[in-house]
Symmetry: D2
């Protein structure tokens, strides 16, 4: 199974650095992606983009297309959501990170999105991996809910073999028997991946835990474990969020967290 | 999360019966789908189709598009594989069950395939679920590697909401810590699903265990647990199979198994 | 890790048969152990012993010492419970199977109990395993909640190395992410264990599923998979049981189940 | 299930501080327990005790009684091992932390051991929990291999109900499907436990990962997540260790790690 080549550390002994509009991730560069679970309104996006930028975030996230367990749940604004992301990105200067769910919108993502995210549920949607790789744009690949680290490395190999060289991996919690958290954040994956691949690795403490109270301690832990960055859900009014409000921090908490993150980064330098 | 409606037993108290070219699954009708992991050659397909038909199989399976962990593994013959399936189906009279991996080939599958399979890795590829549902053809939906029963029922709701009424569910083993088997076949899912949905449920003891020696006992157990059918990998020369030979039974073993299955079905009637 | 010797099939190619007061398990002999989760009253025990015997059970079970997650839950009648088991056994003629939880009562169990059960939570209580083995009495060893099959075989090796030759293994469900059932009954463990060891293997569909409605289908499935027996919780009034009422079948359901079990056993003979 | 009382944060809103011979854990006090997996020789113990003390460790660990999967593996020096621990403790001034495996040696542990450890495999050995609690000595309780956080809190309730007030909890990795690490270290358990209980929580990155290369990043992550301490396996010659050498760090690496730990502790203060 361990037959990935382009992703292997052996094929590229130094750390890869992914650079997007002047922001760098990997090789000693730490970056934070922040924003709401889903794009809701222009006002929401402008406000959150301004807040997370002020706190030091490097990228703006927000879901336009949302994978939802039930067909009857809110599934995002679609292309209208992409438009709102573009407006907020233009005003804030933060590059956009957002998830693609289907081959159907490849052209739109190629044109409008700075970092194309492939979500946990699609980590082994091999057709999508190849097609996104062929766009030769930066990609953020999340580990599947119950994927092994080796499977993640084989999945990223599909993207690299497709042609893209700029891929960021993301640990976002795995499925276990424990129910106190939404998933079990597997932080050991960070040093294990550092050994096996040259690609940058970030951590998602929001999905990884499912509770905003746990985001700060696990974000700090991720930084201490050597992660190259974080992706964090931030919402101006978590209690009114259309999705995942329970795991979203407010801009105030996010700002405090950012300060602590930098201190932890310095401590392990 | 339990907000599926069309799939719910409450919305359809009697068992649904899926009928394909005269074969029925569900509501007391038991059907067996058999064939190789992947379509390799015309000779292979004609031979195995003849053998499994003689042993009493109702459908012919065979992968033309294969989801593989590594991008460098054999990934199927693609559309040429579909052609070979059609030839074997025409000669044997057995309807075709085969997996779709991408929206790209929806038209081909709509035209050529009798039962469109959605594999475990795509169980939450929601775009694909909707699009396949819209074809209004019979669908076989496999449970994801680490999906709960509730997630499976929500996934099938996407297909039903898309327009298809003829969906067969398949338990194929879940991911656990146990390494003695490839997956852990969760046979309790059969009676649990019977309670919650009206749709037929079949079991895949080949992927569920990963070892041909375990296929017979687990196939018998599935029948005893009340499954509506089985999907079993059969290959003329398992040791030379291009994929999953370790879990494929020979036509001889398959024929013996079919006899025992019928005795177990009578025992629980 | 696979360094068990006495338990290995290689060391004893034919099936071991455990014989207790004329009842046999293993080597083609199928036996059913039935009774309540916990011993409550003399009347309860006499009534259930009579009922399960009439339905064809071979052994009487009932917990005198109960392992409970919380220290404040009912933990059994202790030695008084053993006395009630002895009375019910004497009247019904059924040998007693009951769980030991501590070295403290080794003498009592050696004197009064026919088959000493070691529960899932104590499967790797190595001191207890050795001490129970040294009693040279029949033992029923349940698989731990998250033990691998190899760990179960190493655990039984402690008992065999201690001196006992008559050990019955029991699959009782493993811990997974699925919440629709209390545990995930791993029936594949039956044929895997048959390959690796000569010891008899029985299945506990009560703990394995946690719901009485699932006991019958999974008991039939266990028999079809080749199990050498079953252990089933039966209670005259499940709704009033002091523990695990949700997973206990009534004597009426048990009697019906026993008839079907025999038909399935004949079907696979 | 959530019916623990003495362990609940609600019953004791401030953090409990466990104090042993002048060392404190909890309530802002951080402590490190270090030493080899198993006690082997006097020379080994004196040397490692001196080294870990010099690096800043607060307690000396070392297994005299070792729980081993196989009955044929080295299972510790037993009471002779306790003697060697006492000698090393006397010379270094470090209090002893060591595991009890059986009720058999309760008196010896009560007399000679400063902190009695109950291992993961015995977390639900309820008899042992009660008996150790009744000794009214400091206890270190490790989370079971597949125990939920709620089960851990119920297990500690047995000890507290037995009479001991000084219990330290330990996250040591849980069993999941991932095989890249020996267990999956669940660091989210730290902040979750902080919310639910007043007891101190330490982390074991040695067992939690199984590889010495991962000990440093995960130790730093544990500190960043808010743990009250660490337990780390240190061996002078890991390649020659009688058990778990693969996960043992050398005294040199341990000394470097201790410096970084203090910097991370300051960063999150």
């Amino acid at each position: 199974m361990a037959d990935y080549k382009l992703a292997a550390r052996a094929s590229h002994p130094t750390d890869s650095v992914v650079e997007v509009k002047g922001r760098k991730i990997g090789g000693g560069n730490f970056a934070v992606i922040a924003g709401p679970c889903s794009v809701e309104t222009e006002e929401q996006m402008l406000s959150v983009a301004r807040d997370v930028k002020a706190a030091g975030a490097d990228f703006l996230r927000g879901g336009a297309f949302k994978p939802r367990t039930s067909p009857y749940a809110f599934s995002g604004l679609g292309l209208d959501g992409l438009e709102l992301l573009k407006i907020a990105s233009a005003k804030s200067g933060l590059p956009i990170v957002t998830e693609i769910m289907s081959e159907e919108y490849l052209d739109d993502f190629a044109r409008d999105v700075d970092v194309i995210q492939i979500g946990a549920r699609n980590m082994q949607n091999f057709t999508l991996l190849r097609m996104v790789g062929a766009l030769k744009k930066p990609v953020l690949l999340k580990r599947g809910l119950s994927s092994t680290i080796e499977e993640l490395l084989n999945a990223v190999e599909y993207i690299l073999a497709g042609g893209s060289g700029d891929v960021i991996l993301c640990e976002r919690g795995i499925r276990t028997y424990e129910t106190a958290t939404r998933n079990t954040l597997d932080l050991s994956a960070v040093p294990v991946l550092k050994e096996r691949t040259h690609l940058p690795i970030i951590v998602d403490p929001s999905h990884g835990t499912g509770y905003w109270e746990l985001v700060e301690p696990m974000a700090l832990a991720a930084a201490a474990a050597g992660a190259d960055g974080l992706i964090i859900e931030v919402h101006g009014h978590p209690e009114a969020a259309l999705c995942d409000g329970r795991q979203s921090v407010t801009p105030q908490i996010f700002a405090r967290l950012m300060k602590k993150i930098h201190r932890v980064r310095e401590a392990i330098a």
